[in-house]
Point group: D2
Chain length 300, copies 4
């Protein structure tokens, strides 16, 4: 991956991205909300509920890429206005997907973070366009993308002048059918050794099953993820999109409590082992602390 | 998965398998050693080193399934005798792979746990033969197997009368090439909701990269794994098999410390939330504690 | 696939698309040229050479989606002008990729067929935009797309009012590494039983190896493909893109001769078996001629 | 693939394997029959029907590897005796699967060709055991195997002294769900450039859909396959195994006619282009006839 001129780690400091006071890449960030913005009442109710339950940021799609042209495609501008209301109501920054380079110009007025979805990971026109703004970009991994291809997509954005890229592992497509996708958690430490950009995890799309989301949230923290993006709906049965994988606010509240305790535990261990804070417990203290080239003598 | 007559969870108690005092499915089990038994001196040195570093059981292959017929295939009976010596020396039970149904009869005299490798997961003759013993069996998931196919392979063993099956997730084959395989950690909670059998993780074969093993060990604990199987060699550069992914005993010691602290933390949280001990923190308290069918009212 | 309102076969006539007198879906169409338009001299030389060797249409990219932002991205408008010159010089219609919805408006002035590349298969904004023209669209299958998802992308274009969609199988991403992708030839008869749209094959991108292209061209004809799209360059070693898989004009001439003989043979057999011409030899006469529901009595 | 000491092509003559007068690797071989030997009456009826319809050899499983231990596992020895009767009745040699190394010794008394199934491709004990006989072996590609791994499995058999290995492509497991597997036809010319062993195709297991089998048979011939193995049952609805993909004898008869005409056409073309018979039309005359390293000058 010699060509990652801007994205490569190369011993530099990890990037922290400030989104309205939420610092992604520092602490642990919870981005929560329904798959799509269905209507104002439901979205605002969900927004308030997830804020109370611990969310740091709101998510909600106004443009929904759907397999069929006849499925609900999102509310567009009307949805953006609902997102803005939710931000005013809760004080939480909002993340929303942009799918067309022509929309970037005006979506930046509504979105605190621009999401590039998995299907558009290699939509290079769109990458360049969001790269020409300074708005933070949440770049989801394509469902068949290698880690290398994903990082080159980050490089597309960085090379246009926007340094604010957040990576998001959301599961890859494999032969397994029990889960919607296969969450590739080894991508988290892989990305952390290859790039300085923050990386979060999306267990909702990866598993597609509420019963697996909790354990995969915990596993994401333990793997070194900087945050989570979760689908939560105040009434999942009425969700217009992905209702089978949506959590209730109560379920999210329980996950949030556990995940934050786990993250504090991991940070405390990290600090105890490395008071300088220069390394990360779950990674460099375990393996990186040893010179892999001369792994030490033993009895023989 | 209606046909899992014996393997299905169906609300029954989780199986705990006693291997010479090590109770798999209770606490957290560390199975450690080199990929192959290369020679007596090296294996005994590694065995002593990993015991001191925290291992509960020893692993080491005397029969090695290799892509090429001209690669080192293991020491066979001579290797088994070295395993027995290592057990005597350290007191640790040993896990070793069996690849031929004709060998099961005598390998049981040397092995505390019989391993079925990924390539033999659907070698039904071999499954039936180990099913006719009462020796615990470590059943690795095939690299292209669905979770359903894997559990049916456990059912083959159980249906012959051997109830002692330990499942092992070791990564599946995907399009990603940065890692050797893709560790499917969502399979851990999936298996836990489908079956009562214990399940462990193999981050060494899954990642093929020492730098990723530590984070994936932590993530395995957090996902609800009952243990780990790790490749450790007292001098990785001299290993005759898989040397690129072998850890040193020192690296393993650091992982062992971190993993056990993390496991204790998870258990303490679990006990605090569920004093009866009937559920598991990282799974049922997060999502299972809510009735997924009536997910609560909200504003609308 | 109930939602394919416009793309579904439903017993209707197969679509034939006229591109400047070349009728795709009738006879056999050869679309040939370099991966990218590198410079005028080379492109015109290649264009003349492939016309002499038997090509029906020219291909050449002026917009190249590349993994790295620092790789050659195509000549853009300058490339389009070279394509127009080549068309004037040879009389062959041209196919070229469009990657940004904002470019569709003016690219239609240069392209006889608009290509949607594999990475943009689910770029729904782009699909809608080309759907609003009447220019024929060559829709490549995404490298991780199911046949169903691919046909729904065709439906996106059709639903905007453009009936001229040509499907193109170009290989899917699998675990195999000997070939660049895995050509899924079973998709050809699958598509033919699901939709009335013509379908062609791209063995260049699918195999990535010149030595395999010839056999895969023959196999495509035999599977029922309506044509081929092939990368040919008058000096492959100097190609700025995909030079390892480019054929020389001489290699293409040999393939063209063989493929057309084979296609005539297949058509003659078809006509002999079904003088009405209502079925297709390599498909409906083989299996469709029998009632699959009552497969006939036998001795027992 | 440097380690293929015996399997590599290295410019040597293609292997032709004689099975009771049927010469595999010369002409085109049709191996036909039901998935499993269900009962004597049905099997003999099918055997007679497929012989009349054009089969060169019979197939039928007496040992069936099945996902569930409770599914029909085949008739074992009783099935072998039925196979022997069918051979006596029709004069056709029989192919049958062996799954346990302990059975090889006596199955050779019943089988003219020993089949190694996809699940057992890397069952190295079984490979060595069939390698110690001189009975021809039909080696199916594992559903997640690379071409390289597959050829090394052939090498296991050859290295034990048995030179009679027939390779069989039967589809690989991918993300596509419309077909049972994905037939990798590019593996046919790939294998032909890497090894001297004959290679056949199994479109029944690859597609799992009768409507796709005919086109894939034609495509296999055109890709250079030396034969086909097809599931045919005289009453598919009553088949105990894989009934959804079984053809009727009448359907097979139509495929057989078309495939043989196509094969003769391909051979005639080959002879016309290369009277010495040293190359193969669909491969070396198309691409191999040109020096890929100096692909010829063009106008620029």
């Amino acid at each position: 991956m010699k060509g990652l001129k801007l994205a490569a780690l190369n011993g530099q400091k990890r990037t922290v991205i400030d989104v309205g006071g939420v610092r992604i890449g520092e602490g642990f960030t919870m981005i929560v909300g329904p798959c799509s913005v269905d209507d104002e009442e439901t979205f605002l109710a969900t927004a308030v509920a997830v804020k109370e339950a611990g969310a740091d940021m709101l998510r909600g799609g106004a443009f929904k890429p759907r397999t069929s042209p006849y499925a609900f495609q999102g509310l567009g501008l009307a949805g953006m206005k609902i997102l803005a209301k939710a931000r005013n109501l809760t004080g939480l920054p909002v993340v929303t997907e942009v799918v067309d380079p022509r929309d970037v110009r005006w979506v930046v007025d509504y979105a605190d973070v621009l999401q590039i979805g998995a299907r558009n990971m290699q939509n290079f026109s769109l990458l360049r366009e969001v790269g020409r703004t300074r708005r933070p970009v949440l770049l989801k991994r394509g469902m068949n993308a290698t880690i290398e291809e994903w990082l080159y997509c980050a490089e597309y954005i960085l090379s246009e002048g926007n340094p604010n890229v957040i990576l998001c592992e959301r599961g890859i497509r494999t032969h397994e059918t029990y889960t919607r996708n296969t969450l590739d958690l080894s991508a988290i430490p892989a990305v952390r050794e290859l790039t300085h950009l923050p990386v979060i995890t999306d267990p909702s799309h990866a598993t597609g099953r509420p019963s697996l989301i909790g354990p995969m949230c915990n596993a994401s923290v333990a793997a070194g993820s900087d945050g989570l993006i979760l689908e939560v709906h105040c009434d999942p049965n009425k969700a217009r999109c992905d209702k089978d994988q949506a959590l209730t606010p109560e379920q999210f509240a329980a996950i949030d409590r556990n995940v934050r305790k786990l993250h504090h535990f991991m940070e405390d261990e990290q600090d105890a082992q490395d008071p300088s804070g220069s390394a990360q417990w779950n990674m460099h203290d375990i393996c990186g602390g040893y010179d892999l080239q001369s792994p030490g003598a033993c009895g023989n």
